[in-house]
């Protein structure tokens, strides 16, 4: 032992190094323990999954290609659905090699780099504000109205987005620009899953009740739960206990599931579950992590709800599946920011209150879900159309003009909608009052239309 004494310091060093190496080897492979490897905080969009490095970095050593693949795994579908104004194919065309040299938009990370909080702008953009000008500096040549505009006003003025311009393109502004504050009959579209399931013969749609079922007494059904179920759309459409609680196990034998999870819901509500897993409520589940909890959120949440676990049942409460409860009270159980707190004093809530108390017409109330989990038209894998609830609460939110088409225009005119969404103080007050901002794009679009008509009548004379 004495002989080792001169090397003691080296032995200590070796032991500490060994322990550190072992810890890092363990940490890098263990989701939830990877914070030691984080080069900086990630954005609001991804912070929930930041401790699972491979969610974005794919396989180790796959580099940029792996990151791009991970971006597209989650975001490709929505980019396609929004008719992305700057698709990758625009930048891979050799004729646009000069554009590509200015902005390599083939890679998402060119504009959206994570772990760089100090240079992250709204929408997770990490480029300087002048990125539009790199390619569109001569815009005033075709659009004289744009002469002299500030280089950073394209998106901040409420006129353009890099990806989603479905509610902002010129002809859309012209077509909808003359609308009033309110449309003639402000109503939401109605959901039609039941009709769809029956028309596809997935369900016969015949109602069931407890009395008509060959009860599995050995499972000791709780009378209160059975009574709750009897009042649901499930019972009225013939969805009995075993539809959710029974599935084939690995050996192919039917087994009872005590607590069905989202994969069971997905057997009938696939697209709703897809939406849930894509948004901030379900993205951790999608990555195979533990469910999201309000205490992980960056938005203000109620203390009492800090440890609630977000699954389908958090908002829909098993057996009752009350969609009205899910549309307002479930949200307010957790959310505690100024917009949420102001909701119950808003004109939207007044309409909702009228509807649920039976005085307002069906589809005339405006709940939290009306705007944040909107009813949208969806083409099913069977190529049928149905109206469903988009359960990705972020799908129409950032930037908020994405909400105009799927939500606002059901009840409001385009100008009013754009102005209201551009007024962040009004949004914070949950739309109590009138917009202070004015988005000028409709005026400019109508002007461009008039100019086009003048030019046509003067038979090809030069533009003004």
């Amino acid at each position: 032992m004495k002989r080792l004494a001169p090397y003691r310091i080296w032995l200590v060093w070796l032991a500490i190094s060994g322990l550190l190496a072992a810890y890092f080897a363990y940490a890098v492979q263990t989701p939830g323990r990877q914070s030691a490897f984080m080069p900086g905080p990630v954005t609001h969009a991804h912070h929930q999954i930041e401790l699972k490095c491979v969610a974005c970095h794919a396989e180790p050593f796959k580099g940029r290609a792996g990151i791009q693949e991970a971006c597209l795994n989650c975001h490709a579908k929505e980019l396609k659905a929004m008719d992305d104004s700057h698709p990758i194919s625009k930048f891979t065309d050799p004729r646009n090699a000069d554009t590509l040299a200015k902005l390599d938009a083939r890679q998402c990370v060119t504009c959206h780099t994570e772990h760089k909080t100090e240079i992250t702008h709204p929408m997770g953009v990490t480029l300087p504000d002048d990125f539009c000008v790199r390619c569109h500096s001569d815009v005033a040549k075709d659009r004289p109205s744009h002469k002299g505009m500030a280089f950073n006003s394209c998106a901040t003025g409420g006129c353009h987005n890099f990806h989603d311009n479905r509610a902002l393109y010129e002809d859309f502004l012209i077509q909808h620009g003359k609308g009033d504050k309110l449309t003639a009959i402000p109503r939401l579209p109605e959901r039609n899953l039941r009709e769809f399931m029956i028309s596809m013969e997935y369900l016969d749609g015949k109602p069931v009740d407890a009395a008509s079922m060959n009860g599995r007494e050995e499972l000791h059904p709780v009378p209160r739960l059975v009574a709750e179920w009897e009042h649901t759309a499930h019972a009225k459409s013939g969805v009995n206990c075993s539809a959710c609680h029974q599935a084939k196990d690995a050996s192919g034998k039917l087994a009872w599931i005590r607590n069905p999870d989202h994969t069971v819901c997905a057997s009938c509500h696939q697209e709703e579950v897809n939406g849930f897993l894509s948004g901030l409520h379900g993205m951790r589940l999608k990555q195979g992590m533990t469910p999201m909890q309000p205490d992980m959120a960056q938005l203000p949440m109620k203390d009492g709800a800090a440890h609630a676990k977000l699954t389908c049942m958090s908002c829909h409460s098993s057996h009752r599946f009350d969609t009205r409860q899910a549309a307002v009270e479930a949200c307010l159980t957790c959310h505690d920011d100024s917009h949420a707190k102001a909701y119950k004093a808003s004109p939207h809530f007044r309409l909702w209150h009228e509807e649920i108390s039976g005085r307002g017409a069906k589809g005339s109330g405006v709940s939290c879900a009306t705007c944040h989990l909107p009813r949208i038209e969806f083409t099913t894998p069977e190529d049928e159309r149905r109206i469903l609830v988009q359960h990705n609460q972020n799908d129409n939110l950032r930037p908020n003009e994405k909400m105009v088409r799927s939500v606002c225009l059901n009840c409001h005119g385009l100008q009013f909608s754009l102005d209201a969404l551009a007024d962040s103080a009004l949004v914070s007050r949950n739309f109590q009052g009138m917009p202070d901002k004015h988005v000028d794009s409709i005026r400019m679009a109508l002007e461009a239309e008039r100019r086009g008509k003048r030019r046509k009548t003067s038979d090809g004379a030069a533009e003004d």
């Binding site: 008719d83 698709p87 990758i88 194919s89 891979t92 065309d93 050799p94 004729r95 646009n96 090699a97 000069d98 590509l100 040299a101 075709d142 393109y169 002809d171 859309f172 461009a448 239309e449 100019r451 086009g452 008509k453 030019r455 046509k456 038979d459 090809g460």
Partner: protein, 181 residues
């Protein structure tokens, strides 16, 4: 050993990659374009011109999704070209014009400018060009007004820089690029 030699020769012959030895860049470009042009003409005549102009059962519109209308022939061509790009094909193509409705479809490179001018006479134009450090064989083919739908739409569009197109006019060109080497 005597048996092995011919067998080896056969093996080598089978292992050699299949080559279209007599095909040069121009032939490949011409072949690709003939398919594009044929499909485009069929769509314009049998779908757009028939349903919109002759039988008047449905409109074609730039905003086909919003207006529940048919996709314009130029859009159909572009979506096809984008799908080809997304598949990672080695070649690329686009429909350009000296008088484009969408300004992005204006001639941009020197060869495009020269080519679009040249095809106004009715014949294709071929040249090599270097873009982003890579060499391409670029072919430009005249794109003619084959149906009334072509000219009425372009002559009436508020963003169209020209509104006196007539049937048979060269309205633009298909630019097709094959990477060389």
């Amino acid at each position: 050993m005597r048996k092995l030699l011919p067998l080896t020769a056969i093996g080598l012959a089978l292992a050699a990659p299949v080559q279209a030895a007599d095909w040069d860049y121009k032939d490949i470009a011409d072949a690709l374009h003939s398919v594009m042009e044929a499909d485009r003409t069929v769509y314009t005549k049998l779908i757009i011109n028939r349903l919109q102009n002759q039988e008047k059962v449905i409109k074609a519109s730039e905003h086909w999704k919003d207006e529940k209308a048919l996709v314009l022939p130029a859009q159909m061509f572009r979506y096809g070209s984008e799908a080809v790009a997304e598949k990672g094909a080695k070649f690329s193509y686009s429909l350009l014009s000296l008088w484009p409705v969408n300004k992005q479809n204006n001639a941009k490179t020197a060869v495009e400018k020269e080519g679009l001018q040249a095809v106004l006479k009715g014949d294709p134009y071929y040249k090599t060009e270097v873009l982003g450090g890579k060499k391409y064989f670029t072919a430009v083919y005249p794109d003619k007004a084959v149906a009334k739908a072509c000219i009425s739409c372009h002559n009436d569009h508020k963003d169209s820089p020209r509104n006196d197109f007539k049937m048979g006019d060269v309205m633009g060109g298909v630019v097709l690029r094959l990477p060389m080497n």
